[in-house]
């Protein structure tokens, strides 16, 4: 994308995320009672984050072994409730070490 197109993309994203944040506060004064809609909204963040994580983590890591290793280490630590920053850091260290090991091996 050109520089101008990137600015437009940023503003489009900003406009949509503002609408999503503001619309219920300004329009909906009652709770959502539709059970399907409530359940759908409840599951959305997990589905979307999982879809964006895999297989993208493999491509981001530079080599598949490092990507799988980062997913395994990050996944286990996250499962043990290690928290946002420790899990992120451990994933980075795993990729760095795996790339280093596969290069000398």
């Amino acid at each position: 994308m050109s520089n101008g197109q990137i600015w437009i993309a940023i503003l489009v994203a900003a406009g949509v995320s503002l609408l999503v944040r503001v619309l219920p506060l300004t329009l909906i004064r009652k709770k959502i009672t539709n059970r399907f809609l409530r359940s759908f909204l409840y599951y959305v963040p997990y589905a979307t984050l999982a879809v964006m994580t895999f297989p993208a983590i493999i491509d981001a890591a530079g080599n598949p072994v490092a990507g799988i290793a980062a997913l395994a280490v990050g996944g286990v630590l996250a499962w043990l409730r290690a928290g946002l920053f420790p899990v992120a850091l451990a994933s980075c260290v795993t990729v760095f070490l795996t790339e280093w090991l596969t290069r000398i091996g």
Partner: protein
């Protein structure tokens, strides 16, 4: 008023410190997609959502159409609809349009958590000052990631670029551990995403469209098969 602002800044500071570190890794991603430090700062100021911004940079690098970007941002930020709805029950009923818009703009997973933890009718002075401090540190972190990403060696950059996925794992795994449906949903999402990514080329279906289609299909299936009981409705604030 002054006391509320000070209390907001005090509660916003630890959130901001965490934001700076996380946004730094987001800045690495932004840098790879060609954003300037100023663009990263502005994008973070206005969007302030880790998953949403990652999706934005992902879409920019995939050269997605603007309507696709709008759709992806709407989907990745959809949980804010729930948070915004929850906050509408907690602000003073006489709050005007400007106050409601300002409250909505402040919503992030962590700031929402502060709002829910606030006893009594929610004060915008409190929530807003916590948000402004945290958002500035978030934006500064993104800018620092874009700048420092330029001087770091390639193997360090590829290592740091998985940080954002580590964050996502940290958000989805603890609830998956407690809720079998979420665990199954995450496993299904990994499998479907991998299959679609390898079977369908980016020319046939953009990566952003794949995220949208899979998110809607999987969430709708989960909602139809496993409707959420009432007490879990506010439980999405895990980020």
């Amino acid at each position: 008023m002054r006391r509320l602002i000070l209390r907001g800044l005090r509660d916003g500071l630890p959130i901001g410190v965490g934001y700076f570190a996380v946004a730094f890794s987001l800045g690495i991603v932004a840098r790879q997609t060609g954003l300037t430090p100023i663009q990263g700062f502005v994008a973070s100021m206005l969007n302030h959502a880790s998953a949403g911004e990652y999706a934005l940079y992902y879409q920019i690098s995939a050269r997605a159409a603007f309507w696709e970007i709008a759709l992806v941002i709407m989907i990745t930020n959809m949980r804010y609809l729930l948070m915004s709805t929850a906050l509408s029950q907690r602000i003073p009923t006489e709050t005007g349009l400007a106050g409601r818009i300002a409250t909505g703009f402040c919503i992030t997973d962590e700031i929402f958590a502060l709002g829910i933890g606030y006893a009594g009718k929610l004060s915008l002075a409190y929530l807003g000052s916590a948000f402004i401090l945290a958002d500035l540190m978030w934006s500064a972190g993104t800018m620092a990631g874009i700048i420092a990403g330029n001087i770091l060696p390639a193997n360090v950059v590829s290592a740091l670029s998985v940080a954002v996925f580590g964050m996502f794992l940290a958000i989805i795994m603890p609830p998956a551990r407690e809720n079998k449906v979420i665990a199954g949903l995450v496993a299904a999402a990994f499998a479907c995403s991998f299959a679609l990514n390898r079977l369908v080329s980016p020319e046939t279906m953009s990566d952003g469209m794949k995220v949208i289609v899979l998110t809607v299909a999987l969430s709708a299936a989960a909602a139809a098969l496993f409707p959420v009981p009432d007490e879990k409705e506010g439980g999405t604030a895990h980020e």
